[in-house]
């Protein structure tokens, strides 16, 4: 399932403009300890986190996740979306908890 479709089905708010919404979501990873996520999130994963500093964009770039989903209405730091657009990273946001988001991804994407 593509990022755009996932965003639509889960009613995710798309915070970035330059990301590639045609990327395929092939898995899901939940994590907030960035050094941990760096070594474990897989290419194509939808990465769910509550972290909101600019380092999340760097981690997304390194791990090639298909999108970042900010859980529980987290507000990103000002520089985050600018960096995300510069790097072509999708940043989406949900009001739900990480668990609820992951559960819904599993349901709608058949993961």
């Amino acid at each position: 399932m593509k990022v755009a479709e996932l965003a639509d089905k889960l009613h995710l708010e798309c915070l970035t403009k330059e990301g590639d919404l045609n990327l395929e979501v092939t898995g899901c990873y939940i994590g907030d300890l960035l050094s941990w996520v760096m070594g474990r999130a897989m290419e194509g994963d939808a990465w769910i986190t509550v972290m909101s500093n600019v380092n999340i964009i760097a981690v997304a770039t390194l791990s090639n996740v298909s999108c970042i989903i900010l859980a529980e209405s987290v507000t990103p730091d000002p520089a985050v979306l600018e960096k995300a657009d510069a790097q072509g990273i999708n940043v989406l946001r949900s009001t739900l908890s990480s668990f609820e988001i992951a559960k819904q991804i599993s349901e709608v994407a058949g993961l």
Binding site: W36, V54, A58
Partner: protein, 187 residues
């Protein structure tokens, strides 16, 4: 990272790569100020003003040189997420100092980790470099300085297994005494 000592290892590796011959690791745990301060200083090649301005940005660093990587941005974030502060000063051909201050009792502060293991890892990996590790509380101070050990050992390299074992025991004992002196049994 799950422990601050892993950040220390990471930052000290930068000092080693910078050609430092002396690296200082100063830890100050102040219950009174509710702060844990870690100062890592070296006499390595230092950074230009331009590079220093970019080194805290995860992108310019990962893009231009892989050796720096996410080390500094993650260390800074670890300090800031527990109401801390972070600063780097550097001068070309003089050296670099990285100072991180953490809220000691903040719930998001990672534990310090095993400093004896950290120091033996560093000494084993770079036996030719001198390390001075000081650990201070509100009432006491512990010092481990390879220059002092070299005076005793003469030409014997610091990375011999017996020497490393001795260093490990020396630091463990020193830190236990430090913890006991403030009425605690762990770090």
């Amino acid at each position: 990272m799950k422990e601050l000592s892993l950040h220390i290892l990471d930052i000290v590796k930068n000092s080693v790569k910078a050609g430092a011959t002396l690296i200082g690791i100063d830890i100050i745990e102040s219950v009174q100020a509710d702060e844990l301060t870690i100062v890592i200083s070296d006499n390595g090649c230092g950074m230009s003003k331009d590079f220093l301005a970019r080194v805290r940005d995860p992108f310019t660093t990962t893009r231009t040189t892989r050796k720096v990587g996410m080390g500094i941005p993650l260390y800074e974030a670890a300090a800031l997420q527990c109401d801390g502060r972070f600063d780097i000063t550097s001068e070309v051909n003089v050296g670099t100092t990285v100072t991180a201050v953490f809220g000691l009792s903040h719930i998001d502060r990672a534990p310090l980790g095993d400093m004896a293991e950290t120091m033996t890892t560093l000494v084993s990996g770079s036996p030719e470099i001198d390390f001075c590790y000081t650990h201070q509380t509100d009432t006491n101070r512990f010092v481990f300085d390879t220059r002092e050990i070299r005076k005793e050992l003469g030409e014997v390299p610091l990375n011999l297994p017996d020497v490393i074992l001795w260093i490990d025991a020396f630091i463990k004992e020193g830190l236990t005494t430090l913890a006991l002196s403030r009425g605690e049994t762990n770090k």
